[in-house]
Amino acid sequence: MNRKQKKMLVRIVISAVLLVLVNLLPLPFWLRCAVYAAAYFCVGWDILRKAALGIKNRQVFDENFLMAVATLGAIALAVKEGSGDFNEAVAVMLFYQIGELFQSVAVGKSRRSIAALMDIRPDSANLEVDGKLEEVDPDEVPVGSVIVVNPGERVPIDGVVLEGASSLNTAALTGESAPRDVGAGDEIISGCINMSGVLRIRTTKEFGESTVSRILELVENASSNKSRSENFISRFARVYTPAVCFGALALALLPPLVRLMMGLDPLFGDWAYRALTFLVISCPCALVISIPLSFFAGIGGASREGILIKGSNYLETLSKVKTVVFDKTGTITKGVFEVSGVHHSDRDEAEIIEYAAHAECASSHPISRSLVRRYGKEPDRARVKDIEEISGHGVTATVDGVSVAAGNDKLMQRLGVEYIPCGSAGTVIHVALDGQYAGHILISDLEKEDIREALAALREAGVTRTVMLTGDAESAAKQVAERVGIDEYHSGLLPGDKVTIVEKLLKELGGSGRLAFVGDGINDAPVLSRADIGIAMGALGSDAAIEAADVVLMDDDPMKISRAIKISRKCLRIVYQNIIFALAVKLVCLLLGALGLAGMWAAIFADVGVMVLAVLNAMRALDTKRV
């Protein structure tokens, strides 16, 4: 509790004690009135002050004004009846303040527990200056300087390890508890905790551009992308309060007038009391507080598992996902390609690979990297001229004066070269040297071990259609699809085709279902943004993916997709529970209040009670272990 809250608590206690005393002690009438007044003003003076300011600023429909009117009205009725019983007015104010205090404490607590989840901000960096270490603010470390990270410290800035070996705990970023080993030459990501050895790191980015800053920024800004439920509630709140107020006014005036016309006793006091009860229930607090809190907790809980959701609106969309489209590479498969053979070639295997590796040297596609790996050396760019990349086909280039074409079936057809199709699964790179077919290189990508379970888990989470998109040939795509158990596949796609297919799938969706596209964040920005929701996998360290996607999975575990959907469903379930529960209780109270069956006591209990329960319910969204 902060100071403000403690002060409030003291006021509440004093007022409560006074209220109890006045009811127990046989005091003379004037003293009773004085003690009641003391209790009332002690707990409610700030409400009265704000109500007065509200009138001055023409903000009459705020809750302070309503509470002031309700309690002062109750006092006026008591004075009129001459009973000297002011318990109701004081108690209503007291309970209202208790409710506000509880809300403030609960929200503060949840704010802190969510902030603690994201406590990955490094406080300082050990900067090496002229061979000596200086502790500086991470913001002040220039790119390219050398920093030292001791065991137990958090890596403050992205960089490359110069010296030392250690294991890193990436749990705060990925939710993955297995440590990651790094040594000299490895890239290192800020936010990880150095567990064993001392590391000397050359920074490659400024602090503001480093992974840890970007993640923090993303999570902190998530709550400004509001969901439809949140917008609904704030619209509703704007209408609800005035509506209830006018309802109260009507209740105070219409029934007595009707009775008067019918020649009955108008019972003005009775109806005025019922109208005041209305005012007590007019605050939409329970709704207004619990809905954003649920989303905030859901996003916080997900981020602890290495699932970053960029806004409440995405969390909401995620919960409605019915179709999941996978870009094969990096999601269903590991995205690590290995050359598994060279077929139908009368030349030496190493020679073919050398030509292909050089022709592809300008590409950063995983395929070309696997060629380089097999080749064993960095290709010598000076030997390569006239590189032309034909999207979705392959490349042509001149290597050592020999014109080399490396690519798929379509490239060979385009160049008019006779080729021998490959029967094995995988990606085939046909190689033609000086227009003559020189065999093909087979490159295969291994499927992730748990992809089958991941797809089953998706189905269990309510996804009805899973689709795989790939640039691979039909036969290879079919084999993979059958092995992993995916519903549909589309093969032989050019990058542009993926958008077209996603658009077609979006049309087929219908109803409230939504489509998610899962990619590895490389080359799929257009599709990621076209889908209802774009999910990037294995994004740790990939800025492009973090930028383009709506949901970022920090590691490449496919099980996280269904986790994310389940977390979002749970969160939305809580949101709807709260909306329905709060509205239902308020409506019942309004009805009972209007009929004179519920008094102000019941009204304030309902108001505060609903809010307490809704806040407690909202906090469940933080618990992602049970979804």
């Binding site: 300011l53 809300q103 949840s110 709140a237 704007r238």
Partner: protein, 72 residues
């Protein structure tokens, strides 16, 4: 131009009212208040002076919630 400010406000409904008030302030293109993060994100219109506009925003917010604070 977009800027975000730390704010202090006690009730969630007041945060919504602050958002409405900020949105209506001249020079503000769009505004969002997150009660949970206690942050106000303001998108300024082109050519608007953020410091000046924010003064008006604070004034407008004080009208709907006398106890609020925006840290600039």
């Amino acid at each position: 131009m977009k800027k975000s400010y730390k704010i202090e406000v006690d009730c969630a409904n007041c945060a919504n009212l602050m958002e409405q008030a900020a949105k209506k302030t001249p020079g503000v293109k769009d505004a969002a208040v997150s009660f949970m993060a206690l942050k106000m994100t303001v998108e300024f219109e082109d050519g608007a002076e953020p410091a000046k506009v924010m003064k008006d925003v604070l004034k407008a917010c004080r009208k709907v919630e006398p106890d609020c604070e925006i840290f600039m």
